[in-house]
């Protein structure tokens, strides 16, 4: 049973890319010994969740197959839920609380979620891959249902009645016969429910949901809107110092000679020079910056591949596909040669930045040999493991806490700022905070991989797909499989060598792979003189994909298309992690080649909907964020330097870019709920591309498509 929980909550995402820590300390690796004592003492309070405090309310973590690892019913009826998932704006705190409120049957406002805290929550591999709803949701539902059944059993003893006549409603267990009742908090008296989770427990059906499926507003929304919520970058511990790191002038540069003497002479400044790591901690961030400026370094640089040669480089360095990443049916090459209509095309995908509005931040505090790190990471337990390796101390002595964070989009799988703060704090013997500048975030975080995608596709005269060959170099394998029916196909992902640090992104490589595929589908339809929606439907079997295509088309008014001069319309679809999206876009291309997206309709289906108002927000946000990567976001780099590491040089979608946006959410109550943070981003880029083609006859094969408009 224990193993099974691990399987569902810990199974690695096949293509999830975890950027390795970018540096290693050469610190004296002496063994630290655990001091006997009463666990980690946290004297500081931080707004982590609904309540404004984080207290050590559990001495040890219970085994994950016990209810008490996940759910605690307090004496007052307050239900505390423990999950290693992290809140980065996807509003999973709200959705998971809804699930527990529903299944346990307690008022929603009695749920307090403790999230992403290695000392308090069960191990979790990380918040990525749209896994929180399909995996953590059922896990908490099972724990809540087991708790419910167990509490009813306890009530039967307490009320001296048959459990069959008892019902738990809104935190109170009532005897239907005698009308006697007992509150669940009274039953537990605050004690842990040290009982196994029953994997066969009967769960409420979708039709019995009362809180799940409803538009519950963001938990603790007022704290955010009033500026009261403390992000890590807002935290301040007693006697805390401000840390700054001396960054290399470029990728591949290492310090050859370092002179820290002038910085060391500054008052109240701690300087750490450890291997390639050079950092300072001081009373104010201003003093820390001055101290960094006082450090003199001779840098040794190595030649670096630049943006101008990146696509050739990635393809040249591309390795043969391994079997896991290869999907072969029939003979794609032979079928291509025999096809009536053929298209062969190469696509270039640039690196882009996640650019979370809150840059990386970390606060670290050592008390004796015990380390606590607060950092905004999607993988608190991963950061704990990194710290374990780096500082060579037992994991039990490391606590990583992840307060609700200023977004991630797959860009915060790591914990650099927390690790840096921990290194400085060790030396300073005081708490240290490190907050990255925007330029640091743009330069030293990791990027959505660049890539080259080569496609060869063929169809019959009647418009039936006959051959499909698809090679992705470096950008990744997610979403690489085609949902269309093709008798002959060869699909391969070729890992390559990336000159820039790269990692996960919203949907991983799927936005790039779906872009290439849906552009080709558009062009094939055009070559066969078949209407592009009809062409897609003709080559699809998957009913769920057809349903989103038809829903988006209907909302958009696709059949009555062909708009005014200089306007064009496009359609595209995609699926990932079990959910389906289709997007129709209308663009205006002005005579100067400036592209604006005027209207979008998007249809999305991810099984039974947990929270419509938040789902719609995820879909809208994905479309708008996706427009950036589609049209104008790209990282420029030369000689190991990022050329555009600012919001004034790296363009991000703004209010004026936001189109008229219609969202259709298909609620499939018969399908288990799935994640929604990633898939809705897939189809916007190809829909825009196909609309530009419709407006101008220009076929674009790059992401981004029009950083400086398009040349007509």
């Amino acid at each position: 049973m224990h193993k099974k929980i691990k399987d569902i909550t810990l199974a690695p995402e096949q293509y999830e890319l975890h950027a390795e820590p970018s540096y290693q300390f050469g610190m004296n690796r002496r063994k630290f010994f655990s001091v006997l004592g009463s666990g980690i003492a946290i004297s500081f309070t931080v707004v982590n969740s609904i309540r404004a405090e984080l207290i050590d309310n559990k001495d040890t973590k219970d085994s994950e197959d016990l209810i008490s690892a996940w759910i605690h019913v307090g004496e007052t009826g307050l239900v505390t839920v423990y999950t290693g998932k992290a809140e980065v704006g996807q509003n999973i705190r709200t959705s998971l609380a809804q699930i527990v409120a529903d299944e346990l049957d307690v008022p929603f406002n009695k749920i307090d979620m403790i999230m992403g805290d290695t000392a308090l929550t069960p191990y979790d591999r990380g918040t990525f891959g749209s896994r929180s709803i399909p995996y953590m949701g059922p896990q908490l539902r099972k724990a809540a249902a087991s708790a419910r059944e167990y509490l009813i059993e306890m009530a039967a003893v307490e009320l001296k009645t048959d459990r069959k006549s008892l019902q738990l409603k809104q935190g109170i267990i009532i005897d239907q016969k005698t009308k006697k009742s007992v509150a669940i908090g009274k039953l537990t008296a605050g004690k842990n429910l040290v009982k196994p989770i029953n994997n066969a427990v009967v769960l409420k059906t979708v039709d019995q949901w009362t809180v799940t499926g409803k538009s519950v507003l963001k938990v603790n929304g007022e704290a955010f809107i009033t500026g009261k919520h403390k992000y890590v970058s807002d935290m301040k511990l007693p006697d805390m110092l401000y840390g700054k790191i001396l960054r290399a002038p470029s990728y591949g540069a290492t310090p050859a000679e370092v002179d820290i003497s002038a910085a060391k002479e500054l008052k109240d400044v701690i300087v750490v020079h450890d291997g390639d790591f050079i950092g300072v901690a001081a009373l104010t961030s201003k003093i820390a910056s001055d101290a960094i400026k006082a450090i003199k370094v001779q840098w040794k640089t190595t030649p670096q591949t630049g943006r101008s040669e990146i696509f050739k480089y990635l393809k040249d360095k591309g390795s043969p596909s391994n079997r896991k990443d290869q999907k072969t049916t029939g003979n794609a090459d032979e079928a291509f040669n025999k096809s009536d209509i053929k298209i062969s095309q190469s696509f270039n995908i640039d690196y882009i930045a996640h650019a979370p509005l809150e840059p990386r931040a970390g606060v670290a505090q050592w008390i004796d040999d015990k380390l606590t790190v607060w950092t905004g990471t999607q993988r608190p337990f991963g950061v704990q493991e990194d710290l374990e390796k780096i500082f060579n101390i037992p994991k039990e002595n490391i606590r990583v806490i992840m307060p609700d964070t200023g977004s991630g989009y797959g860009g915060k799988h790591t914990g650099e700022a927390g690790i840096e703060a921990a290194r400085l704090a060790k030396e300073a013997k005081k708490a240290v905070k490190v907050v990255w500048s925007r330029e640091e975030e743009f330069t030293w975080a990791y990027f959505r991989p660049a890539g080259v995608i080569d496609v060869k596709a063929g169809i019959t005269k009647a418009g039936t797909l006959s051959a499909w060959e698809f090679h992705n170099y470096n950008s990744g394998g997610s979403g690489i499989e085609t949902p269309y029916v093709v008798p002959n196909k060869l699909i391969e992902y070729h890992p390559s060598d990336s000159p820039l640090r790269q990692g996960s992104y919203r949907g991983l490589a799927a936005p790039a792979n779906v872009f290439a595929r849906e552009c080709i589908m558009n062009d094939l339809a055009q070559a066969a003189k078949i209407e592009p929606l009809a062409f897609r439907l003709k080559n699809l079997k998957e009913q769920r994909m057809k349903a989103v295509l038809e829903a988006a088309a209907e909302k958009f008014g696709w059949s009555s298309k062909k708009a005014s001069p200089n306007h064009g319309v496009g359609i595209a679809c995609g699926d990932e992690k079990g959910s389906y999206v289709a997007t129709c876009a209308e663009v205006l291309v002005d005579p100067a080649g400036e592209v604006s997206v005027t209207r979008v309709a998007v249809a999305f289906e991810c099984g039974a909907i947990i929270n419509p108002i938040h789902l719609e927000n995820q879909i809208m946000g994905s479309v708008i964020q996706g427009m950036g990567g589609a049209l104008f976001e790209w990282i420029d780099f030369k000689d190991g330097k990022i050329i555009n590491p600012t919001f004034s040089s790296y363009r991000i979608p703004r209010f004026s870019d936001s189109p008229k946006l219609d969202v259709v959410m298909i609620n499939r109550k018969d399908i288990p709920s799935l994640g929604a943070g990633e898939t809705p981003i897939l189809a916007i880029a190809p829909a825009i591309r196909n609309a530009i083609d419709d407006a101008t006859g220009k076929k674009l094969y790059t992401l981004p498509m029009a950083p400086n408009g398009i040349s007509l």
Partner: protein
């Protein structure tokens, strides 16, 4: 240096060329105003100076003088949120909400100068505020709702 913030006078030890944002966050613990870019191009640090939306990250403290500074902490009183905050809450606009305080301050400034802004007015006034989560449609709607009250 003396600064008039949220109708309170603060005496802070600061250089005149220090950014107002840094003083607010580091020296006065008014952390509602956020750092996002340091170059005045994302709006996360927006405060009101004499009622007008101003990027505090590129405002040197020495240039503020006797002007009235309002931060997100000074917007709502003990009991009531500002109508813009209420409207944003009702619209459930935000995801990570890191941009929220700056959005609120920019919207408050807009409604002070233009009580009934058109959608185009809102887009123009809010253009300097980035929401990386892409929640723009709901923010626009919330500002419209707030302006209709």
């Amino acid at each position: 240096m003396d600064l008039l913030i949220n109708e309170k006078r603060y005496t802070v030890d600061a250089n005149s060329n220090e950014s107002l944002l840094n003083i607010l966050r580091e020296k006065l613990d008014l952390t509602g105003s956020k750092y996002g870019c340091g170059e005045g191009s994302c709006g996360a640090c927006t405060v009101l100076i004499n009622g007008k939306a101003t990027r505090s990250c590129i405002t040197m403290a020495g240039t503020v003088g006797e002007k009235k500074i309002t931060t997100i902490e000074g917007l709502a009183d003990e009991k009531n949120l500002h109508p813009v905050q209420n409207a944003l809450l009702e619209a459930d606009a935000f995801q990570c909400a890191y941009c929220a305080p700056g959005m609120v301050m920019s919207a408050v400034s807009l409604l002070k100068s233009n009580a009934r802004p058109s959608e185009a007015d809102i887009v123009r006034a809010m253009q300097g505020n980035i929401c990386r989560c892409g929640t723009y449609p709901r923010i626009v709607k919330a500002i419209q709702n707030a302006s209709n009250q």
